[in-house]
């Protein structure tokens, strides 16, 4: 079984939840509730990054999401036409973002957590930029035992 669908929204933070809920519903029969949470959070973080950092909050720009449902995995691509993110930003994002000193208020992060969360929640994360577009490809493997 392979099926795919493309969805798109305007670069407006108010519209991100619509898209996230739609994609979550698509994954309902394939993923456990915990894995649906992981996919929904990763997608929201990815789109927020595009709108806030790629398009600098400007509305009226295009954000596309391609969802591929396969027997063994859910593949989600977030496609935008903003200036690309520097490659090392994704490479450096890791759970180290949360290795803060909880006894030191100033050390607790208020931002910069999105990409780390995506990497912690998805099984594969890749970023490709070409002259025409940027693609963040995220894969969640389907755990056959949990179904």
């Amino acid at each position: 079984m392979v099926s795919s669908i493309s969805l798109s929204i305007d670069s407006d933070l108010d519209k991100v939840s619509l898209l996230a809920r739609a994609v979550r519903a698509l994954c309902e029969d394939l993923l456990s509730p915990e894995d649906q949470d992981a996919v929904e959070l990763s997608l929201v973080e990815a789109i927020n990054n595009v709108i806030k950092h790629g398009y600098h909050g400007e509305r009226g720009k295009d954000v596309q999401v391609a969802v591929g449902l396969q027997a063994d995995q859910v593949m989600i691509e977030v496609i935008d036409h903003a200036p690309p993110m520097p490659a090392q930003v994704l490479d450096k994002a890791s759970e180290d973002a949360f290795a803060f000193d909880e006894t030191d208020l100033a050390d607790i992060p208020e931002g910069g957590m999105g990409l780390a969360l995506i990497r912690m929640n998805m099984d594969e994360v890749e970023y490709h930029s070409s002259e025409s577009e940027n693609r963040l490809r995220m894969v969640k493997r389907i755990d056959q035992r949990s179904r």
């Binding site: 933070l13 991100v16 996230a20 509730p33 929904e40 973080e45 927020n48 949360f98 208020l105 957590m113």
Partner: protein, 111 residues
């Protein structure tokens, strides 16, 4: 977005939204900050109606904690599912005291 209930010197703030995401985080932070600036420094945040928080929402919570400063308390009550898992995943469960419900949180802060 928020409703409040004063229990002794503890302010219980209930979030009436299902999602605290990047579109809601700025207004959420502003309303929380107003409560803090009004002099409340013992706060229980009731998240039992909230189904989803992203890193912007979590960042807003951290910002409120910093605004409260070391002498204030911000306890979280009623976080379940994806919300509770986000606290654990980001290790923010070491920063915010998580309680199963408002009564338990109020009792802990009053002790």
């Amino acid at each position: 977005m928020l409703s409040t209930d004063l229990r002794g010197n503890i302010l219980v703030i209930r979030v009436e939204e299902k999602r605290i995401d990047a579109s809601k985080a700025p207004a959420f932070k502003e309303k929380m900050t107003q409560c803090i600036e009004a002099g409340q420094n013992q706060i229980v945040l009731d998240l039992s109606h909230v189904e989803f928080i992203d890193s912007s929402g979590l960042g807003a919570l951290v910002s409120c904690l910093k605004r409260l400063g070391p002498r204030g308390s911000l306890a979280v009550a009623g976080a379940t599912g994806a919300v509770s898992r986000l606290f654990t995943l980001t290790r923010m469960d070491r920063v915010f005291a998580l309680h199963p419900n408002v009564d338990a949180a109020v009792e802990q802060l009053s002790a």
